[in-house]
Amino acid sequence: MTSVKLLSGNAAIARGAYEAGVTFAAGYPGTPSTEILENIVQYKDRITSEWAPNEKVAFEAAAGAALAGARVITTMKHVGLNVAADPLMTLSYIGVEGGFVACVADDPGMHSSQNEQDTRHYARFAKIPIFEPANSQEAKDFVGLALEVSEKYRTPVILRSNTRISHSRGLVTTGERRESSRATGFVKNPPRYVPIPMWARQMRKEVEERLGQLGAEADRSPANRIEWRDRSLGIVTASIAYQYVREVWPEASVLKLGFSYPFPDGLIRQFAEGVQRLLVVEELDPIIEEHIHAMGIECEGRRWIPGIGELSPTRLRECRAAMEGKAKVADTGAAPPFAADLPARPPVLCPGCPHRGVFYALSKHDVVVTGDIGCYSLGVFKPLDRLDVILCMGGGVSMAHGMSKAGEPRKIVGIVGDSTFFHSGITGLLDVAYNRSSVTIIVVDNRTTAMTGHQDHPGTGRTLMGEETVAASIAEIGRACGVKRVREVNPYDQQATQKAIAEEIAADEPSLVVSVAACPLRERKRIGLQRVILPEVCKSCRACLKIGCPAIENVGDKPQINEFLCGGCGICQQVCKFNAIVTVEEEP
């Protein structure tokens, strides 16, 4: 029985996995991919789904399941595939038995990411197929198509989404689940599954043969189609850019690619021959364009279409105007008077955020802070301003070590979150202990993966499917790594936090501080009583503003606390030297 539902791209991918008979799904949270697994949980009677400690583990677990014959998906954001790149490159060689689809979500425009890399390069790099849905319906349907291609050619397949596909919702016709007919069970076959050089060389040849066959498959795929309209301009496009093209060039013919690598050369040639002028509209890198050039076919693309940032109908209208030699609408770039000098509203640490206590305590010290990926990235903003560099997941720990070894004269403090510590901070901490750098690593443990919307991880004692499980202890892991100085603090207790951080920074050996307090957003309640500033006691010293709390508003002569926003953490009360901040109960 079919029905029509309003689904985000991510919910549609989850539905697609369900309908296509997937039985195992593993991933690591990362915007914009997170909700795929969060949605797959609703099918838990049929699909075992898991948050893995990181993308590499998720990818490998899914690979193991596929080798045992299961249909699987693994989910991650674009930079997560970097972490899983090692298994990706060789799974291409050994291949899979049950269908294997890596659902990877790019973030053009970097809404919530540290870079703008284009996952399509990985398909070419690993010599495997890639599917690119252009709406929620295709997001669902392409999971099934990708699994079929995966099983037919024994290859892992990438399903590439992006922020606008994953987080846009549209109507989706859903269907019934079809179980895989494949029997579960690993069949021993070393020449096929063991890539020691003598067998890997044979696999290498097979990968190349497979790629040729997949190109022919792409030519026939229902995911690729030509829409003939006016032939004076033909546009080759894929993914969300297809939707923008239909808005901006409604009259043009379109070659819409959904199975975009290996390139469907036959279709491309047929389309190019049928139009007078050929334009490629693709987001990020000019991958299709360069290939069409390499085929010896004349086409335009990057000449008109920007490669930095995400596309939009508004941007493409400007491209079209430029192509047609029309004067651009006069745009002085100046905001109209009513919108001039509006204060910026960047994301900030929430009211009541426990990270604030750590960053405020750190602001008392002249140290270098190597940061990491998570809500605590926001500690870089003034007034806290206590984070100096971010590289990647886990990088805050290892960079602290290297910077210290380079002879940086100041103390180095590495900050990493709990989920990020489990993801790839542990190996960095091993390096700190093993190679003996006297850095201080602070794990800001808010008992959840907060930035992506509160997912469980190996330290929470709960699984994605809601089951109770063991909770790994960060402090015990630190000791097991060989760190002698390990202590836990409550970041809402400023005196204790400042003391702990001062002592550890002074120590001449590796040290680990675990700042433990649950994210109040997950708990959905105030940590303590709401605080108020007593105007008759307040001396307007504005020390409370230095904690950077969005609930403390600097509007009149004296700061005041927004009663709706106050998280009740009490850090402001502890930094006020004049006892002008009290709980609502103490308010006279």
Binding site: L6, T31, P32, T34, E35, H111, S112, N135, R164, H167, S168, R169, G170, L171, I240, Q243, Y244, R246, E247, S312, P313, T314, R317, P336, P337, F338, A339, D341, L342, P343, A344, R345, P346, P347, V348, L349, C350, C375, S377, L378, K382, P383, M451, T452, G453, L545, G548, C549, P550, I552, E553, N554, V555, P559, N562, F564, L565
Partner: protein, 194 residues
């Protein structure tokens, strides 16, 4: 079915104000009225107290989930200066519904900018069709300040050509049962301000 017009709606505010729920209700009301719909919302880092925007487009056929600048028939703002920040999305003659709520950005506390003191004048300059609502206060009086989003939505509904039954059904589909009564009242209160 020759009418290819697409209705474009933009909702803005500050992370945590309930924009996603309001967006969900608009989308379901459009579906109830027989349209196809696409929405787009912001997740992740940008949600942490930053400016957020949700976009809803409905009609007989919809391609892009993104609303073009200058194309929105209705702009709803749960925070007043966010209305000014996103005013350029509104089509000429479009309806702006603005909650009088002020949430001062933390940048102001650091001395990097000031919260404008002449917001009513600026709103008057920015919008030819403007409804200002005391959404937070109205919602608080009805029982929970968190229903302010539905007050704004109620006023926005007057600018969209969707039948009352579609709105009623959409609110019932999208709101949890224990909050339904409150949200229906908040929606009606918003509608009454228009």
């Amino acid at each position: 079915m020759t009418d290819n017009r697409v209705t474009n709606i933009v909702l803005v505010g500050v992370g945590g104000q309930g924009i996603l729920l309001a967006s969900d209700i608009i989308a379901h009301a459009a579906i109830e009225a027989g349209f196809t719909v696409k929405t787009n919302e912001v997740h992740g880092m940008a949600q942490r107290g930053g400016s957020v925007v949700a976009q809803i487009r409905f009609g007989r056929e919809v391609f892009s989930p993104l609303v073009e600048e200058g194309a929105a028939q209705v702009l709803g703002a749960l925070e007043q200066i966010e209305a000014l920040r996103f005013a350029h999305y509104l089509a000429p003659g479009g309806l702006a519904v603005v909650s009088r709520q002020a949430i001062v950005p933390v940048t102001v506390s650091m001395g990097a900018g000031t919260y404008p003191q002449d917001v009513p004048e600026r709103l008057g300059q920015a919008f030819s069709r403007l409804i200002c609502v005391d959404a937070a206060q109205t919602a608080a009086e009805l029982g929970d300040v968190r229903a302010a989003n539905l007050v704004v939505l109620g006023a926005m509904a007057t600018g969209m050509d969707l039948p009352a039954e579609a709105w009623d059904a959409a609110v019932r589909q999208c709101v949890k049962k224990q909050y339904l009564d409150l949200n229906l009242k908040a929606f009606e209160a918003g509608k009454a301000t228009a």
